[in-house]
Symmetry: C2
């Protein structure tokens, strides 16, 4: 039986997290109550510590213990490149590749007519300021290949067209390890058009 | 980039919860950091409150704000029936049906030779005591139809065979709404054997 108390409240809160439903929230709550001292209280503490100590970087929008974040403060990184991404998780995804050594700019989302997200909702003004500052030579638009991602990329490219900054995008094509047979027509068409010397 | 700090620690803790992996833990952590005041700190508080206030019922093993739990204390419930289940989530599942008005006994798991769980690890002694106390007339074994569930049921039935208590099990058969075509042979065989007058 659900208690009309803290347990019920906890399950309701857990089930509101992305990817969790009622059943998984109940399962997690029971798992935690089984391990109160070793998991539940430390998790509560970890949540509180993170909430109090993790800051939004005022320059690029990344999350870090310090503001400006450790990427913005790292003078070994190429200060001439700014990689524009929608979310912090995209920064993490690109950092995991170790293939990029420039700076980032997290928009905090994508333009979306459906969801009513306009340019004011995103960190666009700050991006324009950064790209017009002396050091920036290239803005890399690393946005999703969705309608919202591409219209955001178009919008940014348009706003930056008057500046001297080079604007680039991620390449479209066959994913590494991908089988042609399972790819959609759009990807194959793009990959054909953008073919390179073997 | 993962911070080697509270955020990284939080993601590691979240990814250890049942059903969550690295990716979902990252997603949840970012969602929470987006809503620190409205979700993250209240969740930390809810975890702490639940950890401190939810108790194991000393009689049946259910989780509740009070000990003995509100089911054990409810004198309107049939005191003559004890429904034996493996976990608290099974109590919740049965309570959701509103089809049972007796008491419960949560074993805290199932006998499992593979996982090294013997009779001492489960709340079996307490069940024997309860079933031998005057009021108990029927013990309903509501355990999973798995190898571990059935061997646990056998073990309990064996231990209780000397007492005067009636021992029953959940019926096996076609799940309500289930299509015959998709059922395994074992279920169909059992359902045929246990057929009843239409």
């Amino acid at each position: 039986m659900h208690n009309d108390g803290p347990l019920d409240h906890l399950i309701r809160m857990l089930s509101g997290l992305p990817g969790l439903g009622n059943r998984s929230a109940r399962r997690i709550a029971l798992h935690l109550l089984d391990k109160r001292g070793t998991t539940m209280l430390p998790l509560a503490k970890a949540l509180q510590t993170a909430a109090e100590n993790v800051k939004d970087c005022n320059i690029c929008g990344n999350l870090d213990m310090r503001d400006p974040c450790s990427i913005c403060c790292d003078h070994k990184r190429e200060q001439s490149k700014i990689c524009v991404v929608a979310r912090v998780s995209d920064v993490w995804a690109i950092e995991r590749t170790h293939a990029y050594k420039g700076l980032y700019h997290v928009l905090g989302g994508l333009l979306s007519a459906l969801d009513g997200i306009g340019p004011e909702e995103l960190r666009l003004q700050k991006l324009l300021e950064r790209s017009k500052a002396g050091k920036c030579e290239e803005v890399i638009l690393a946005l999703s290949a969705t309608v919202d991602g591409q219209s955001t990329a178009h919008y940014i490219a348009d706003r930056l067209s008057s500046s001297n900054v080079k604007i680039t995008r991620l390449a479209h094509g066959v994913p590494v390890g991908g089988e042609l047979d399972y790819l959609d027509d759009g990807t194959i068409t793009t990959a054909l058009k953008s073919r390179s010397a073997a």
